[in-house]
């Protein structure tokens, strides 16, 4: 027979300490949010930067910047659960989202924390936390997307500099960033993963050409970046030469299951909003909401989002226990991408002709649903396509043979 070893059980309730954290955060948000200006238009880059970084500064001054970063580097040293609570509360109270501070706070910053030299940390970490510097991520290239390790952008050592020639693509916010976390090819003779180096690139370096790319929605959030003999000091290298792949992968484990929390809470809001809209819109003389099929589809989405919220809590608890998220992270992204496609399809069908406008029509709050539908088309592509995610699940978790 099994023996009960302790009274500890799985528990969805928050500890007293976590509840105090939440209450204090809530009070602070209630206090400061009224003074935050309305969100600038999606393509008003100048003001978006001011808005995003201004919010970051407010977080910093209140001690909430870098919530999950270690205390010694200016972060709050919060647990993953507290990070979750932070994301939940800020989203529920409609505080600004991390926005263009995303790469700095959640990707480049944590990489620097783990791998950078003392001088590099001292120089960059405080400015990320204060919102002084915006970072972007220059990993993908035209010929290195899913197969990121095959990247070709070349860096050749010349004295105290690396001289970079090549191209990056899909670099979100490159046109407004101050720094870029960049992967370059420093050795072409070795297997692809072993000849990559991680560099800090100042975005005002000479020899760069940054060209915004238009998304299918017509906005310019990502760019192509061309490098023609761009000089970056060797002192900007993080980790050893040719050890950049490992450095980049270290960061992925930092993410610890929280990357999609805000998005997912927004999705819950979208679903609730869709239900409200269905009660207002009429079809065949009665409210669309009277349609059992539609109601059931909306209920499905709503229930699935609850389940994904539970999955998120599991992933975060796993990270808290073991330090990293296992297959749950891939499962989350796969289920979430598919769910968002269905949510988008459903909302367009409900909006019918109103879906032909990207903006609200006739005081009906339709714009966010149309934008949400288009955004959903990118979730299964960005940060690892759904096909690649499935390969990872099948090969790494299920142990099926590789087909490559």
């Amino acid at each position: 027979m099994y023996q009960i070893l302790s009274r500890v059980a799985m528990d969805l309730r928050y500890t007293e300490q976590e509840q105090t954290f939440r209450a204090e955060l809530r009070a602070w948000l209630a206090d400061v949010l009224p003074s935050v200006a309305p969100e600038p238009h999606r393509d008003d880059w100048k003001n978006r930067r001011v808005w995003d970084t201004g919010w970051q500064r407010m977080l910093f001054d209140a001690g909430y910047a870098g919530i999950n970063w270690p205390k010694e580097y200016g972060g709050r040293g919060a647990t993953p659960t507290e990070h979750l609570i932070f994301l939940e509360e800020t989203e529920r109270m409609r505080a600004p989202y991390v926005g263009m501070n995303f790469v700095g706070l959640l990707h480049a910053g944590p990489t620097l924390v783990a791998e950078a030299s003392t001088e590099q940390k001292a120089h960059h970490l405080p400015s990320i936390l204060k919102g002084d510097h915006v970072w972007c991520q220059g990993f993908s290239e035209p010929n290195a997307g899913s197969d990121l390790a095959s990247l070709q952008c070349r860096a050749i050592r010349d004295g105290d500099d690396y001289v970079i020639t090549g191209q990056k693509i899909w670099t979100s916010f490159a046109h407004i960033a101050d720094y870029c976390e960049m992967l370059v090819r420093t050795d072409t003779e070795v297997p692809k993963h072993r000849g990559i180096t991680w560099l800090i690139l100042p975005m005002d370096a000479k020899g760069m050409d940054i060209r915004p790319l238009r998304t299918m929605e017509g906005s310019t959030e990502f760019c192509e970046v061309f490098f023609d003999e761009v000089r970056v000091p060797v002192a900007n290298r993080v980790g050893d030469e040719n050890d950049g792949w490992r450095v980049a992968m270290v960061t992925l484990s930092f993410e610890r299951g929280t990357a999609f929390v805000s998005e997912m809470l927004q999705s819950m809001e979208l679903v609730r909003d869709l239900a409200d809209l269905a009660k207002k819109v009429t079809r065949n003389g009665s409210a669309a909401w009277d349609d059992t099929g539609l109601r059931r589809d909306i209920a499905h989405l709503s229930g699935e989002l609850d389940a994904l919220w539970s999955l998120t809590k599991r992933n975060i608890s796993e990270a808290q226990r073991t330090g990293f998220v296992g297959v749950g992270g891939n499962v989350f992204k796969l289920a979430y991408s598919e769910l968002r496609q269905r949510l988008g399809e459903l909302s367009l069908r409900l909006l019918d002709r109103a879906s032909l406008s990207l903006d609200d029509v006739h005081e009906l709050p339709t714009g966010k649903h149309v934008h949400g539908r288009i955004h959903a088309l990118s979730i299964g592509i960005a940060a690892g396509t759904s096909q690649v995610q499935r390969n990872i699940v099948a090969e790494r978790t299920l142990g099926l043979p590789k087909d490559r």
Binding site: S140, N143, G145, S146, D147, S150, I169, W170, L213, R214, T215, M216, G218, K280, V281, T282, R283, N284, G293, L294, Q341, E345, L348, R349, L351, D352, R353, A354, S355, L356, S357, L358, D359, V361, H362, L364, V370, L377, S378, G380, I381, A382, T385, S386, Q387, R390, N391, D403, R404
Partner: protein, 319 residues
């Protein structure tokens, strides 16, 4: 029973396809977007010149028309194609010049939650479809509000603030037939757009390499492409069947056949649009690449003559 294109039909369809490739090459779409989706009257007259709007008076059947409209959909030709065709077919005397391309006719169906008119600025006549009557109004006289950023930049839209008035030009059976034909021709365009999205995705999957081989060599990509084809072929069968029935060469219930076609063609076009983007990876999400144009047009066409769900409701209602 012989449910396969005749030689004449093959020649007709191939002819229209090469006309579209020459006169409306896919590269010509981006410049049109830059104009706010304005129609080019000379191009419209050329469409009329090859007989697109006068097919029925020239002795062609609804099935022949569906084959032609499949090609128009494949080429993503913008403009009120079905409305002008139907006006030339059913309102020849009232709306003179629709068949010759001199009169561009649009149609707005009164709908919930909003009624929208497409291509309003280029219309010579606007038809308003409400219940089982069609009225004609002067497009300049109706109170409207422009949509600043249309989902499909090739389909500019205006919200109609009022959709009443005008002279009633068709009622009853004519309107019912109009709607059936409109749904089937729209379904044909959706089928054409689906196949074009497949062609583009397949071409990309053959050329794009990752991990040292064409992405089309990965089964995940092959299966996505095959699924697109399955949807499109099933929808094509349903669409041709509806057209053949409308021509009187079948014994199926007409409304049922039409709803099956519109429902499946709508689903196929949206599916092929979406998966076409996915196969293109990040490229699929860019303005430059045409993958997203097929998806956007699929969204627009789904709202014509009843979306997929409405036709499913109609089918349920008849069961």
């Amino acid at each position: 029973m012989d449910f396969w294109r005749t030689q004449d039909q093959e020649a007709l369809q191939d002819g229209i396809r090469s006309f579209c490739q020459g006169r409306f090459p896919i590269e010509s779409l981006q410049p049109i977007e830059a104009t706010g989706g304005r129609l080019d009257r000379a191009a419209w007259r050329d469409l009329a010149g090859v007989g697109v709007f006068s097919l029925r008076h020239d002795g062609f059947s609804i099935t022949d028309s569906a084959l032609v409209f499949e090609e128009l959909g494949r080429a993503l030709i913008p403009g009120p194609l079905t409305a002008t065709y139907l006006a030339a077919t059913h309102l020849r005397t009232v709306l003179e010049g629709a068949d010759s391309g001199e009169r561009i006719v649009g149609l707005a169906q009164v709908a919930e939650p909003v009624t929208m008119a497409e291509h309003l600025l280029d219309l010579d006549s606007l038809l308003i479809l409400q219940g089982d009557s069609i009225a004609v109004v002067d497009p300049n006289s109706v109170p409207t509000q422009v949509v600043e950023r249309p989902l499909d930049p090739l389909t500019p839209v205006h919200v109609m603030l009022s959709a009443t008035g005008g002279e009633i030009v068709a009622t009853g059976d004519v309107v019912r037939q109009w709607c059936r034909e409109g749904a089937v021709l729209t379904a044909a365009m959706q089928v054409g757009a689906s196949f074009a999205a497949i062609d583009l995705a397949v071409e990309y999957a053959k050329g794009r390499e990752q991990f040292g081989r064409p992405i089309g060599a990965f089964q995940a990509v092959k299966h996505m492409a095959a699924d697109m084809l399955v949807k499109a072929e099933v929808a094509r069968a349903a669409t041709y069947a509806a057209a053949v029935n409308l021509d009187g060469n079948g014994d199926d219930d007409l409304d049922r056949a039409v709803s099956v076609a519109k429902m499946l063609a709508g689903d196929a076009a949206l599916f092929c649009g979406k998966i076409g983007i996915q196969i293109h990876g990040g490229m699929g999400f860019t303005w430059e690449v045409n993958a997203q144009r097929y998806w956007k047009r699929a969204v627009v066409l789904d709202t014509h003559y009843g979306n997929s769900e409405m036709h499913a409701d109609a089918l349920a209602g008849s069961m």
